[in-house]
Symmetry: C2
Subunit: 333 residues, 2 copies
Amino acid sequence: MISKQWRLKARPFGETTADTWDYTENEVPSIEKGKMLIKIEYVSLDPAMRGWLNDSKSYIEPVQIGDVMRAGTVGIVVESQHDKYKKGDYVCGHNGVQTYAISDGTGLYKIDPSLAPLSYYLGVLGMPGMTGYFGLLKTGEPKAGETVVVSGAAGAVGGLVGQIAKIKGCRVVGIAGGKEKCQFLVDELGFDAAIDYKNENVKKALRQTCPKGVDVYFDNVGGDILDDVLTHINKHARIIICGAISQYNNTTPVKGPSNYLSLLVNRARMEGIVVFDNVKEYPTAMKDIASWIKSGDMKVKDHIVEGIETFPDTLMMLFKGENFGKLVMKVGE
Amino acid sequence: MISKQWRLKARPFGETTADTWDYTENEVPSIEKGKMLIKIEYVSLDPAMRGWLNDSKSYIEPVQIGDVMRAGTVGIVVESQHDKYKKGDYVCGHNGVQTYAISDGTGLYKIDPSLAPLSYYLGVLGMPGMTGYFGLLKTGEPKAGETVVVSGAAGAVGGLVGQIAKIKGCRVVGIAGGKEKCQFLVDELGFDAAIDYKNENVKKALRQTCPKGVDVYFDNVGGDILDDVLTHINKHARIIICGAISQYNNTTPVKGPSNYLSLLVNRARMEGIVVFDNVKEYPTAMKDIASWIKSGDMKVKDHIVEGIETFPDTLMMLFKGENFGKLVMKVGE
């Protein structure tokens, strides 16, 4: 049996290119005691993956040259010598951009394919879902009646954050690129307003759509949009730094928020989050999110691209703002 | 009787110059019912004053063109038609850069000249003292054994912050300009180490002086030093944004912290403070600080310049880093 993989060939400077990756095919070895073979069905594509390619101190070890690229995956156990997993179990974990993976169970957990489509376990019920849930509720502490703004609003984390804020009784404004995405946020996800950063003056649009100012800002993008929001925050506002996709491929230094002194004027705070800190509470979050999906309060949009061979291009869709909903790659044959 | 004043003539672009100010002399009018005449003894010079000259939304109204420059003052009541104040009372308040002020008591409070030198009421027992006390303890939440770094460490707020952090059992590193100030921090104020930003590589010096990383950073300066500290913070670090003196006279946009994504990697927070939010708790802080001064745990260094005519130049000392301790102007004749 052959496994297909994408491996890190060279660390990118700026955007990833064809030179970043190596495509390999390997015969799958036989499974030893304590291990299992997983056939991967879906691979998750997340903005954070860009950071894992940099050889610098971060919240997680960088991917090493020659290694299979790290990625969240959903798969099915096809062969097992592991006590806790048997053939036919569906599992979720960081099993990399490949079609088959061998695992000793580290970081793995079982999922129930009858409860939700498999891809959901990489999105609303996976890392992006947990990121949005804990980032908004624990760090953002939104109160009913407050105004919550979220950038990257049509992405995996942003769409979920906005919908949770609505459930909590907030006024919600999303920032996304393009008319179609903005319409989707308002018409389908129930946001109160959306700002099309590609075609609108964000600062002006914030004044119009947030007449009472911004109490919570969930930032996935950084750059100019972060600065624009900083000009319009309220006293004691909370800014959640979840990511800065506008800056990840920079070949020049990151653009720091010039308007950060608005934190002083407004006694506001800016706080970073890393999803893994909440591992013990994931079950609570998953239960909540599943119940909102069931009740119809939360809608889910996945963007599925087929075929492992598409990986280098599919990953770049994130940084070009081309994904519409949670981006996943279907690799199952 | 003649009162001498410095008034705002024109809003500065960048540094204040001779054109920023008007010097005026006026006959003091007679005092109406409900008012009092205060002879001002000391005028406080604080970095925040630069911000009050800008015509922009902030935590306090800008000073208007033609108005006497706003400043904290200590003075003595020399004539009173006010029920609550009598001749001979010493009072503290924002009575402006002038030798005599008429007040209806708004924002005024009595002080006891037998408890501490008058100038202390503008420093450790005044606005800078309250700023450092609440900023460090309420927003910074330092715990014994943690490492606290403070910039502008030889200034009014910084010196106090470092000494309170020592009292709370922290390792304390101060950042200041010049060998003399750094020696003072270590030898006189008991800091564990000091970094001379004018003659040292701050990033490298932080690694040497904070081998366990930085848990709390009290920032008075912004700019490159904020960025340097961000590279060396610990998980869950707290960064208190008290000021950004390096940026106040900018004629270009403020330099935002390029390394702000360190907040994400370290799940750290950056929070702004404004001293006036703690007015109700000032008495507690003043009691604590007075007791530390009495016990010798806290040392006080004032930098007193004589004569109201020096105002424009004396104010600029703050931005050139020429003050050594709390800068006040003695205007009593």
